[in-house]
C-alpha cells in the first residue's frame, strides 16, 4: 500500500495545504522581492495594495478549494478524524503559534530599534517603508503556517 493511501484524511489535507502554502509563498516572495531576496522591491502604494489584494484572493481561493475538496471526499459512516488527529493538529498549532510569536517579537524589536536608533540602525531587515513591514509580517505568517503543517506531517510519521 502506498504512503498516500495509508494516510488519514487530516494528514492528506495537511500535506496538500503545506504544498499549496509553500507554492503561494514562493510566488508572493518572488513577486515582492524578485529573486527571493530579503529586500522587497520599492513598490508604489497602489502596486503594493494590488499585490496584497491578489495574495488575499489567492489564499481565500485555494483554502476554500482544499476545504471543499476534502469535504466532498468525506463518506458517510466513515470516521475521518479522531483523538489522535486532534492531538497531532494541536501539536502543529502549538509549533505554529510559537513561530508566530517569535516572528512578531522580532518585528517589534526591529521597529523599536528602527525608531530609537534611526538611520544608524543596520539590520537584515529595515522597517522604514510600510511595504517592508508588510513583507516581513506576511513572511512570518506564512513561515509559521508552513511550520504548523510541517510539524503536523512530521508528527504523523512518529505517532
Amino acid at each position: 500500500m502506498s504512503i498516500i493511501a495509508d494516510m488519514s484524511e487530516p494528514e492528506r489535507q495537511s500535506w496538500v495545504t503545506l504544498l499549496a502554502d509553500g507554492l503561494v509563498f514562493l510566488w508572493f516572495w518572488d513577486a515582492i522581492a524578485p529573486g527571493w531576496s530579503f529586500s522587497p522591491y520599492n513598490f508604489s502604494p497602489s502596486e503594493t495594495g494590488t499585490l496584497f489584494f491578489k495574495l488575499i484572493l489567492v489564499a481565500i481561493f485555494y483554502n476554500a478549494i482544499i476545504a471543499a475538496a476534502f469535504a466532498l471526499r468525506r463518506r458517510k459512516n466513515e470516521v475521518d478524524q479522531d483523538e489522535r488527529d486532534v492531538e497531532i493538529q494541536s501539536f502543529g498549532a502549538r509549533i505554529g503559534y510559537m513561530a508566530l510569536q517569535f516572528g512578531v517579537v522580532l518585528v517589534i524589536v526591529g521597529l523599536l530599534l528602527s525608531y530609537v536608533i534611526g538611520d544608524d540602525f543596520v539590520g537584515p531587515l529595515d522597517f522604514y517603508a510600510p511595504v517592508k513591514v508588510l513583507f516581513t509580517l506576511v513572511c512570518i505568517s506564512y513561515v509559521a503556517d508552513l511550520l504548523r503543517h510541517g510539524a503536523i506531517v512530521a508528527r504523523y510519521r512518529v505517532v
Binding site: 459512516n77 470516521v79 478524524q81 479522531d82 483523538e83 489522535r84 488527529d85 512518529v158 505517532v159
Partner: protein
Amino acid sequence: MGGKKSHIANQIKRVRLARTDLTQAELGRLIGATRQTIIAIEAEKYSPSLELAFRLSHVLNEPIEELFQFSGEWD
C-alpha cells in the same frame, strides 16, 4: 511509521485476530477511530485515551487490564 514505542503495551492485534473477524478499519469504525489510529495503537506507537481504551475493551469484549499493560517505566 518509525516512532518511539509507548510505555503501554497492548494485546489489541492478538485479540482482534484471535477472537474476531474484524479488520482494522472495521474495529476503527466501531470505536470511532480511523484505521490509521488502530494501526498506531497496535504498533504501540500511540496510547489511546482512557475513553478509547474502554471502547476497545467493550467492542473486543475483554477486560481493559487484559488489553493494556503498563511497563512501569516512564521518561
